[in-house]
């Protein structure tokens, strides 16, 4: 099958070179090919849908970004903004696109007194957190890890157990500078009338609503070149010091202001009561139920190490067949040492009443203030996807877990790794008003027994099926918007959110050039697994959407068909297990 290798025109290339200088633009295949793969999900659909760019350009400031986008607009060139290239969702999906690599823009500025960090899109979480602590502040390093770009992450996910006290990411987004797909630069919040970005909403209707939903647009509404982020006051006189290195590095806790507790709960009912009562007493910095397999992952330093630990214990776990009973609680003395003592006293009283047993745990942080272990947490089995990661209420978390477990065990295990009754990660958010739920599945393409080898396709189907079960059970899901099968979710949620979602996108991006397409998954399913449309009861989004196919018109005008834009190796796979 053909692979589209068309490059951008010489005129467009020259225009880009004139903006950034010839050393910051290239169409050398040895470089452009490296812009295909991000660092997140190994070997799954997001990655398969990627295309190498026709050209890579690296601007150094907002002015250059604006000019590049105007060139793209003029030449009708699709572009893909890239911060740290952590998430493969963000990779370009269409041929001859322009990768706008923002990694030269790593600026970081501070308004310490008002707890504001002003960041550029190439900056990652690690230096932000390190500098913040030097200034008596901290932020929440997300599940994606310290290596994720701050702005990219704030625009897409930014979830962690610290959401319990720090709230949703969107509330931490303050003043924003934004280059729209037509090249216009707009400023949100207090930046709209001054150079001070300390306030985010308004004036009037809040355009931050267009930056993201529960998840983000993955680069489909332009490029954020500057963002002010609300930070939080550090509860310690000085920063916590890292010990060890790499993915095992941790921040050691001082014993007077921050402390972990692991409790083994006697029942699921006791788990629920504990989570509720901790919230009712307005204590805690994080409260969660940790799945058994996550603990194995957290302790593993490599894939081999994971299998060497999980394998021998598999029989024991299978015989036990139950979801995790470990309730993990983080307490912080935000105000003083006395607060930690007070909260510990209450926590112990609650857990004693519920018959919980206090276990041992390391007094350090590896994951949420300094997140060094995200790669270790997600890669041990070789293949991984979070089928679900949604915020709703506590009962919703339990219900969603049971729904997904039932589905996974009935249809997809094996090849997905069997976790024997595990119903997923649950944590309290928003001081107990809501709860975060994550259902993570894994497989191993190179597992020596081959048992989990072909998991990629079943993982993909499980992910599609999970959207169907969310609809059937009235459950909320992270898989909405451009990270979903639009033909499934578009008509169902809202209802008909897909219609206005796509119209808003078209209004902002009339030439459909900002990281298209919206409906990648629908198009891939149409091509490779059309039987799923009947099985999961949906129509292709191409039949439902209302315009917004400008880029595809360009593609077809050049004689291409949709299937032509899929990478060559997509067609060369020897297994045909999809569906």
């Amino acid at each position: 099958m053909p692979k589209v290798t068309e490059k951008v025109s010489q005129a467009a290339y020259n225009a880009l070179a004139n903006i950034v200088g010839p050393e910051w633009v290239t169409d050398d295949a040895s470089i452009t090919e490296s812009y295909v793969k991000g660092g997140e999900i190994h070997d799954c659909i997001y990655q398969r849908g990627q295309q190498p760019p026709g050209v890579v350009v690296m601007p150094k400031n907002t002015d250059e970004v604006q000019k590049i986008v105007k060139v793209c607009f003029r030449y009708h060139l699709p572009y893909t903004p890239i911060g740290a290239f952590w998430g493969v969702h963000c990779g370009g999906k269409v041929p001859f696109h322009v990768s706008i690599d923002l990694s030269r823009m790593r600026g970081l500025d501070w308004d310490e007194k008002h707890m504001v960090a002003i960041v550029e899109p190439g900056l990652i979480h690690s230096p932000l957190q390190a500098e913040a602590q030097e200034r008596g502040l901290y932020t929440m390093t997300p599940g994606g890890g310290s290596q994720a770009a701050v702005i990219g992450n704030m625009l897409t996910c930014n979830y962690s157990p610290l959401n319990y006290r720090l709230g949703l990411a969107t509330r931490r987004i303050l003043g924003v500078e934004w280059v729209l797909p037509d090249g216009e630069v707009i400023r949100l919040g207090s930046l709209s009338n001054s150079d001070d970005p300390y306030w985010g909403e308004g004036p009037g209707p809040d355009l931050r609503g267009l930056l993201r939903g529960y998840l983000g647009w993955w680069g489909k509404v332009g490029i954020i070149t500057k963002m002010a982020i609300k930070m939080h006051p550090l509860f310690l006189p000085e920063r916590m010091k890292p010990v060890e290195r790499g993915m095992m590095s941790t921040l050691e806790f001082p014993d007077n202001r921050i402390k972990w507790y692991n409790f083994r709960m006697p029942s699921e009912e006791a788990m629920r009561k504990a989570m509720r009562e901790i919230s009712r007493c307005e204590i805690g910095a994080a409260v969660m139920r940790v799945p058994t397999i996550w603990r194995y992952r957290g302790k593993s330093v490599s894939r081999e190490d994971f299998w060497s630990k999980w394998g021998p214990d598999e029989q024991k776990i299978r015989d036990g067949r139950a979801t995790s009973s470990v309730c993990r609680v983080l307490l912080i003395g935000y105000t003083s040492e006395a607060q930690l003592k007070y909260e510990e006293e209450i926590l112990m009283e609650i857990m004693t009443e519920l018959g919980a047993d206090l276990g041992r745990t390391k007094q350090s942080d590896q994951s949420w203030i300094k997140n060094a272990d995200s790669a270790g947490m997600w890669w041990p089995a070789g293949g991984y996807v979070s089928v679900e990661f949604v915020v709703e209420t506590l009962e919703h978390s339990f219900a969603r877990g049971k729904t997904l477990l039932k589905e996974k065990e009935a249809k997809f295990t094996p090849p997905l790794v069997d976790e024997y009754g595990e119903e997923g990660w649950i944590q309290m958010t928003d001081m107990g008003h809501t709860s975060y739920f994550e259902f993570l599945i894994q497989w191993d393409p190179e597992h020596p027994l081959g048992k989990y080898k072909s998991g990629e396709y079943k993982a993909w189907e499980h992910w599609v099926a999970s959207q169907r079960t969310a609809i059937d059970h009235g459950q909320y899901t992270a898989n909405i918007g451009s990270l979903s099968v639009m033909g499934l979710t578009g008509p169902a949620f809202g209802p008909n959110y897909g219609e206005i979602y796509d119209k808003v996108r078209q209004a902002v991006d009339p030439k459909d050039i900002s990281n298209p397409p919206l409906d990648l998954h629908d198009r891939v399913i149409e091509e490779f697994a059309p039987q799923w449309m009947e099985e999961y009861d949906f129509k292709p989004w191409t039949e439902l959407m209302h315009g917004g196919q400008e880029w595809w018109k360009v593609l077809t005008s050049r004689g291409y068909k949709w299937r032509d834009v899929l990478p060559e190796w997509y067609w060369d796979r020897d297994d045909k297990e999809i569906g």
Binding site: R171, N193, L211, H473, P495, Y501
Partner: protein, 487 residues
């Protein structure tokens, strides 16, 4: 068929009125905005279906729709600036569901602060509310307008989660996790997540002054009622002295309700309503004072109050401008006991609203600022007031710290007699002059309302263009509240 007949066909004759007296009543409010025109009719819908049909009719006829949900209005946003149909939502004032474990309830837009407070009190819970709102004010409208709560402790999240809205296009839609199919009867979702589906639609409703659509219900948070409260006061001669203590206390996450008032506002809200009460307080209250309420949850509340008070003492000892932390306020005996309860209820319905008690009218000039900017901004407003012949001793000032003191809501209150056209004109000139000066100084008007809108939106041209693109999707015929915001 005339407009009225069509409206009667949708809502019923008893709920449609186009009598001159009714139309005249809806063309006035407590603001300085002059509304020359009248609405064509007023309707009182009772269901989302009726709201949707009226909006569909308005699209057909290309006439404006102006939703109102409170009894009294302050900012000119509900005036029929270009005629049309006033949609009074006050019949839709029910609590539809209560989700006690998650502290959420689904309420209609006509539900008032008084009703919400009573409902939550029955549950042993509380509303987190702005500073003494009108009892008849709509909770949903207040939250959509982003009125700041007196209690910064609960600002980690959104006070409002999911909504049902009829967009200006006539589309009926649920935002947030209530967008799940089958909600509410056949869904596991409780509507607790405000975000999505796809993008954050709820943000387009906030600060929109009704220009995007009509909210027909919202899911709103309530909080646990503390079992123990203790009020403290810190007094100052000058506003600037109060700023650093506020920064430090907020940064250490101390307390629940916390704000700074000047003597004028204090005298208006803390007097007992008896003759001479206001004047006496005006003489006795300190020029400026911080109110801080420490509260304890159900387990070991005394210990919580103790560690928070110890932290306050620590801060006070390090700051020379804090001479002492008082357990009562000079001139207002017993206030310390009444205050927590007072701040968790709306203003008593039987008393004249505190902002109107002095002269019958009050115009609020409010902005978002950094607390360190507040003294300079206050000086600007005082000087401008003097230039316009306004007695600066009657300037009300209220500073509400937000988000651990990262920013504040700063409100200046000008009191006037609304029956005196000359006085009204003077206040309007003062308001515009002071607003322009603050804007140039860097004050941010996150909800500028009618009089300041042209200045703010003209300056934010790119923002205005982009929000207009969103508007054209959600309200393509521009029927919702024309003349508000930048539309």
């Amino acid at each position: 068929m005339e407009l009225k007949d069509k409206l009667v066909g949708i809502i019923g004759a008893a709920q449609v009125d186009d009598s001159p007296a009714t139309l005249a009543a809806y063309s006035r409010d407590h603001s300085l905005v002059d509304c020359q025109g009248l609405a064509d009719a007023v309707v009182w819908p009772d269901s989302a279906e009726q709201v949707q049909k009226v909006i569909q009719l308005a699209n057909e006829l290309k006439i404006p729709v102006i939703p109102v949900s409170s009894e009294q209005h302050f900012h000119g946003s509900t005036l029929p600036k270009m005629g049309g149909v006033i949609m009074d939502m006050r019949r839709m004032n029910r609590v539809l569901d209560v989700d006690l474990p998650d502290r959420l309830f689904r309420i209609e837009p006509g539900l008032t602060w008084a009703q919400a407070q009573a409902e939550t009190e029955k549950l042993g819970q509380r509303m987190v509310m702005p500073l003494l709102p009108l009892a008849s004010g709509s909770v949903v409208a207040s939250l959509l307008e982003r009125e700041p709560p007196t209690n910064p402790r609960f600002e980690y999240g959104e006070p409002m989660t999911s909504n049902e809205v009829i967009w200006g296009s006539g589309m009926r839609f649920r935002t947030g996790s209530a967008s799940a199919p089958g909600f509410p009867e056949k869904a596991d979702s409780k509507g607790g997540n405000p975000e999505g589906p796809g993008t954050n639609w709820y943000r387009f409703l906030q600060g929109a002054e009704g220009t995007m659509g009509v909210v027909t219900w919202s899911i709103v948070k309530f909080e646990y009622l503390p079992v123990l409260d203790k009020t403290y006061f810190i007094t100052f001669d000058q506003m600037a002295q109060a700023i650093e203590p506020l920064y430090q206390m907020q940064r250490r996450m101390i307390g629940n309700e916390c704000f700074l008032l000047n003597r004028q506002v204090g005298a208006l809200i803390f007097n007992d309503g008896q003759p001479g009460g206001y004047e006496a307080l005006k003489r006795q209250l300190p020029p400026w004072f911080v109110v801080m309420v420490l509260s304890g949850p159900p387990r070991m509340p005394e210990k919580k109050l103790a560690y928070e008070k110890a932290a306050m003492d620590e801060i006070a000892a390090s700051l020379p401008q804090v001479q002492r932390i008082d357990e009562s306020l000079a001139g207002a005996p017993g206030l310390e006991r009444r205050l927590p309860g007072m701040l968790r209820k709306p203003w008593p319905a039987e008393r004249a609203y505190w902002k109107h008690a002095l002269k019958g009218g009050c115009e609020d000039l409010m902005c978002i600022a950094k607390m360190e900017q507040a003294p300079a901004f206050t000086q600007t407003v005082m000087e401008t007031a003097g230039l316009h012949g306004y007695d600066v001793n009657e300037l009300g000032v209220y500073l509400q710290p937000i988000e651990q003191g990262r920013a504040c809501h700063l409100e200046f209150q000008f009191y006037y007699d609304p029956a005196d056209p000359a006085a009204k004109a003077r206040i309007k000139a003062l308001y515009l002059d002071a607003g322009q000066k603050l804007f140039k100084q860097g004050a941010f008007f996150s909800r500028p309302y009618t009089l300041l809108s042209p200045m703010v939106y003209e300056h934010a041209r790119g923002y205005t263009n982009t929000i207009t693109k969103v508007k054209e999707v959600l309200d393509p015929n521009y029927i919702m509240c024309p003349g508000n915001v930048c539309f």
